[in-house]
Amino acid sequence: MNTPVQDTGAQSETVYNKKSYTHLSKQQIKASFVNKLFKNYFLFSILTLCFVLALVIFFIGKTAFLTFKDISLAQYFFSFDWTPEEGKFGAALFILNTLSLTALTLVIAVPLSVGMAILIAEIAPKWMKTIIRPILDLLVGIPSIVYGYLGLTILLPLLRELSGESLGDGLLAAALVLTIMILPTICRISDDAIGAVPKKYREAAYALGSTRLQSIFKVILPSAGRGIIAAIILGMTRAIGETMAVVMVIGNTPQLAKSLFASTSVLTSNIVMQISNVEFDSTWNYALHMMAFLLLVISFILILFIRFLGRKGGAES
């Protein structure tokens, strides 16, 4: 696997030391030793990482599946009644809430961020690009708790004012905070995808007499489609797994969201709210682990989907 690396290493050493032949063999030995050392060290690191991943899956899964000793699969996945203190563990409401929160977030975030990406990549003058891109990169790095806090102190009062609600917490507030969080992610990756469309496509489109709008929507967006979908899925995984920002604005009440402003709870927020208050060997604890396991499964599926998309795209171009 690493022979090419070793070869280049040895070759460059040889080139470097052409004048001092006496040191050559010694240095070559040293170089190959260092190469081996590095190879094994990083191989070990990768294996350790895989091992940790396996442990995570194993231990969460092991605890999670204890849930079904006490309650039925049907209750867990199809009941909407989550009242752990009375032994009712219906997680369906969290699963549905998570899905609807993610969907709502994407509905708001995707048109905005893809539009922004088009603006940056295709329309904006160069000076604007050089300002906007670093700003978006900075936004990606802001810790989620900061977004949550801003949501709590700025967004919620604003929503209360606009909607006339007294509380304001709920799906809409959470979706707006998540939108702001994932917007830069989707935007920057879509931007790169659009930028990677070969210039000749644009030239051909213009040569055929299309307007800028036509060339963007009929030529550039379709050929950057896979990249944009990968960007959206990446944003989506972030939205599904987000905890702290959501906890602060969603109201944390285990009930199915019937309106945009009803206090509710999703998988992540419910885990973080309840995990410190449950007993170790209780069905409640197992049920929370099962929720974590579900999140793990969802994000695995999404990541596999991205890999699948990437491979297909690679084969076509």
């Binding site: 102190t153 944390n252 285990p254 009930q255 973080v272 208050n277 449950v278």
Partner: protein, 286 residues
């Protein structure tokens, strides 16, 4: 390279020798040693940390590791043998609403924690009775005008199930009454800090919290049945919403753990550091 290696070895060795010699001289008189692990309530954590600092000055050979997560984790950790002391906001050796008794554990009183009902500054009401509070938290009373305030919706902020503050508030302020979740104007928060932020930023909201957290102009404490929430009223018995903070141990404490609990209960600690942290000394409650 070799020189550096030798040098660093010599340095380390001499450092170890020196410290152990010094330590030996300093600790020669004190024979109390051991390791105490404290786990559990975040409300009691500041007190535990302060006590640990002072205790370790007196007995340098004792190591104390303290962490806070949630009240119920205290007695649980003791049960599992992870911790020697489980800090808990309620007496975990007897049944409380929602939690069964931890058999075989001894509850050692270490402090008095006062709690209070508090509201956003926009609320005009100053005092509520137990019955009114029961109505509000069970969702039967939903408008401030029904309890003598303005015509505004009541926003209920509550701690999630299992919180020590909630357990105490339900049994002392609500007389064992339930806190019922609602479709609208109801929110659960995960910690005392979140509770304060939520009530401070939500107009017409009501919540409950440790008395020490009620500061600033955004929130105000309510009188309970006409009695003001002050430490004095807790001590003279007029104000009922308070509880003891407990150190749970497996059986009677022994050795260093016993010494540590006795130190926390001592007059010296209770009357100085504990008061500074705004808890009430247990001796004041007799």
């Amino acid at each position: 390279m070799k020189f550096f290696k030798k040098l660093s070895l010599v340095t380390v060795a001499s450092a170890v020798l020196l410290t152990s010699a010094l330590a030996g001289a300093a600790w020669a008189k004190d024979d109390l040693k051991g390791k105490i692990t404290v786990n559990g309530s975040t409300a009691l954590l500041p007190m535990t940390l302060q006590a640990a600092k002072e205790f370790q000055k007196l007995h340098p050979k004792v190591k104390i590791a303290a962490s806070g997560k949630g009240s119920v984790t205290g007695p649980q950790a003791v049960k599992k043998g992870i911790a020697d002391i489980g800090a808990c906001d309620w007496d975990a050796s007897i049944d409380v609403p929602g939690f069964k008794a931890f058999t075989g554990q001894v509850a050692n009183k270490v402090a008095v924690i006062p709690f209070a009902t508090f509201v956003n500054k926009s609320v005009k009401v100053d005092s509520l009775t137990t019955e009114q509070l029961k109505g509000i938290f069970s969702g039967k009373i939903t408008n401030w005008k029904d309890v003598g305030g303005a015509d505004e919706d009541i926003v209920v902020i509550t701690r999630s199930f299992g919180s020590g503050t909630r357990v105490n508030y339900q049994s002392k302020a609500l007389d064992g009454g339930d806190i019922v979740k609602k479709e609208k104007n109801y929110k659960e928060v995960g910690s005392s800090g979140d509770m304060k932020t939520a009530v401070a930023t939500t107009p017409n909201s009501i919540g409950y919290i440790d008395l020490t957290y009620i500061t600033g102009s955004d929130v105000k404490a309510l009188k309970h049945n006409g009695v003001e929430a002050t430490t004095d009223n807790v001590i003279n018995g007029k104000y009922k919403i308070w509880s003891y903070g407990y150190y749970m141990t497996k059986g009677q404490p022994t050795g260093a753990t016993k010494e540590f609990i006795e130190y926390v209960q001592s007059k010296k600690f209770q009357d100085s550091s504990l008061k500074k942290l705004k808890f009430i000394p247990i001796s004041a409650m007799k």
